[in-house]
């Protein structure tokens, strides 16, 4: 955006295939990494970090859902349940076998992937809204099963307490420690997703999204790739569930109900389908919007009523604003925040001589 994009000539295949072909992008990314990995945890207070932590967890889930919805065009409103699968798998491993995080996190993901594949089977026959309804059924079935299987849920309260993760013998309890722990997985998630989409598998997903019959004709095994998309996406969801469990210190099925699935779907759609940046924008937007709108309301409302009375108005108004802003952004740019960002970039690219 603020750097030169033209006149960069690639002289080798490796340079041509690089994830970040522009040196400017690389520098920008390095600066962002330094900002978020070094400066942020060192300087920000605990409250801000706790908000960032919620965003980081949401980013992992949104990127995963985007692989399914954005790249392969298969709808899932069962991702909340996949998260609970990951959460309970990890919680059981941690409490029963003292599993460290580097086992608990992938194990949670793999179990969710397994369940995700099973849930994905109907996608071979049905599409669109019909598939959405069948994943909705999965959400309800998984919830019910966890709730009624004491062996999985850890008793009638269906909640299992989990100690904080420990890395090299240190328990991560401080907000900045957890922040870095989560950031590690976010970086992994972004890098993996970005590379996946550039690979043969990713291209197959996109081919299925654009026209599945055509994809089948050119030799893509639809059966395999649709299930693979479900598996990868559910793996991300499972990891999200494990991260939630670590962050909250508890696995509880009420944290992963239908509204969570819908929230994540909202992140992906608002952020922009079919890009890696989109779901990140979406996760930031959906997590921050309620917080920002409440603060804004408290600020503005403070001129009209006393702060104590504000509590009577803010909650409902906040919901209305949340809904209104989602409509607003989708009307302004139906392709999501990512497209909006690109428009801004394009505009600046030619600025100030934008003719």
């Amino acid at each position: 955006m603020f750097y030169r994009e033209s006149g960069i000539f690639k002289t080798s295949y490796a340079a041509d295939m690089a994830v970040l072909p522009l040196p400017g992008t690389r520098w920008l990314l390095a600066a962002l990494a330094a900002l978020f990995i070094v400066v942020a945890p060192a300087t920000l207070d605990e409250y801000t970090l706790s908000v960032l932590n919620l965003i980081l967890i949401a980013v992992v889930g949104a990127i995963g859902l985007n692989i399914l919805v954005g790249y392969t065009d298969q709808v899932s409103i069962g991702h909340g349940a996949f998260m609970s699968v990951g959460a309970y798998t990890a919680a059981n491993l941690i409490t029963r076998l003292d599993a460290p995080f580097w086992i608990a996190v992938p194990a949670g993901g793999l179990m969710a992937a397994l369940i995700g594949v099973v849930v994905g089977i109907p996608s071979l026959r049905i599409k669109g809204l019909y598939l959405a309804i069948s994943t909705l059924a999965a959400q309800l079935i998984i919830e019910w099963v966890i709730n009624h299987t004491a062996w999985v849920s850890g008793g009638t309260q269906a909640s299992i307490q989990v100690p904080p993760p420990s890395v090299f013998g240190t328990k991560l309890v401080g907000a900045w420690q957890i922040y870095l722990f989560l950031m590690f997985f976010v970086v992994l998630a972004i890098v993996a997703a970005q590379n996946l989409i550039r690979s043969r598998i990713g291209r197959a997903f996109i081919a299925i999204r654009d026209q599945d019959i055509a994809a089948e004709i050119i030799g893509i095994d639809i059966f395999r790739y649709k299930l693979l998309a479900f598996a990868i996406s559910s793996f991300y969801a499972g990891v999200t569930g494990v991260l939630y469990t670590y962050y909250l210190g508890i696995a509880n099925y009420e944290q992963f109900q239908l509204d969570v699935s819908i929230n994540f779907l909202a992140m992906v759609i608002i952020g922009g389908l079919g890009s890696t940046l989109g779901p990140i924008f979406g996760a930031v937007f959906v997590t921050l919007l309620p917080i920002v709108s409440r603060r804004a309301l408290e600020f503005v409302g403070g001129f009209f009523v006393e702060r104590a009375d504000l509590a009577n108005y803010v909650p409902s108004l906040r919901l209305a604003i949340f809904g209104g802003l989602i409509i607003f952004f989708l009307v302004v740019e139906p392709e999501g925040l990512n497209r909006l960002w690109r428009n801004i970039r394009t505009w600046f690219r030619a600025w100030p001589f934008s003719f």
Partner: protein, 414 residues
Amino acid sequence: MQYSIRKHLVLAAGVMAGMWCAGTALAQTKEILIGAQCDRTGPTQLVGTVFCPAVQDYVNLINAQGGIDGFKIRIDELDNNYQVPPAIEEYERHKQEGMVSTLIWGTPQAEALNPRLEKDHIPGTSPGFGSAAAANGAKYPYLFPVAATYWSQGAAAIKFVKDKLGGDLKGKKIAYMYYDNPAGLEPLPIIKKLQATEGFELRTFAVPAPGVEMSAQVLDITQRYRPDFVIAHLFGRAPSVMIKSMKQSGYPLSKVLGLVWASSEADIAAAGGWAMAQGYNTMQFAGVGEQYPVDQEIIAMYKKDGKPPPAGMKTSVYYNRGILDAALHIEAVRRAMQANGGKPPTGEEVKKGFESIKDFTLGGLVPPLEVTPSDHEGGGWVQIFQVKGDKLVKETEWFHGYRDLVLKTVNAAS
């Protein structure tokens, strides 16, 4: 296109600036902050829209009377929508602003916040919900259920039924109807243990979420099983549907007992009014009605400002519970300040304050609680009110059932 983008940028910058200004507002002296989480918009809004204004009213009343030792109480209410992530964010925000204690709202929220309460030494209350094991002060040092937990409610329900059925449950049939979620299942272990010692017959009937369709279960109960008593542990819209369906199938509501979240005037109104619910027994962990001195003081406070009494008072069950929750926090702060010589208390001191609460009944609105470092439930007291005419009439005084068994279960729980 280009113009509009510039406009959007300005707009976005404006919103961001506004937000951070708002965040840094307000940090007065001579003020004690109590955090409150609330649900006026989520699935439990039936309770929240009455409970939370009551909390505000009570705090306003205390401040109007001069606060505590010259310190004003500031209660900062944030709506968590009955979701966990906002609850975490709100807790951190309150913590940053220096709260000394917090009113938690919701079972999963209480579970998720518990490790943070312990880490930050801030006491929190979870009246009438939350995990029953939290009554154990040794294992949950900073979580205070203060009101009867689901285990105490289950035990009290069996005791009430026993008294109603002539003091002996041997061979009697009891139906337990519950909302099919963890909270609905929670009283069952206690009830099953009592089944073994008291020798009654028990059948359970699950009502699946969202609890508005239960004709099969009601038919099963009233036509096939024909129990001597029904214990209903339902939430949200479900209690009203249950009352209506029981009435329609001709089962006497005087043989039905609703646990604490199936027991408000709002449920009875939603079921079709008082006439529909005659005889229905409700379990309460706070007083019912507006006759208590504190309710009258709040009405007087409103009157002085030229306003009619608060609308929420019509649902006095939830209104008085809000008063109970707020009052216990303020009492704990008061006791903490008595102990430390009138300084603004720390979270740790307020915790000690909670653990010394006794002889604090607000004229009968609060049960004869005795919170101790080991018993954070304060005794597990409940009252039964019955629908008679157009109000809830007190049927029993404060009582608790099978306290030994409940305490044993609490101590055995992890």
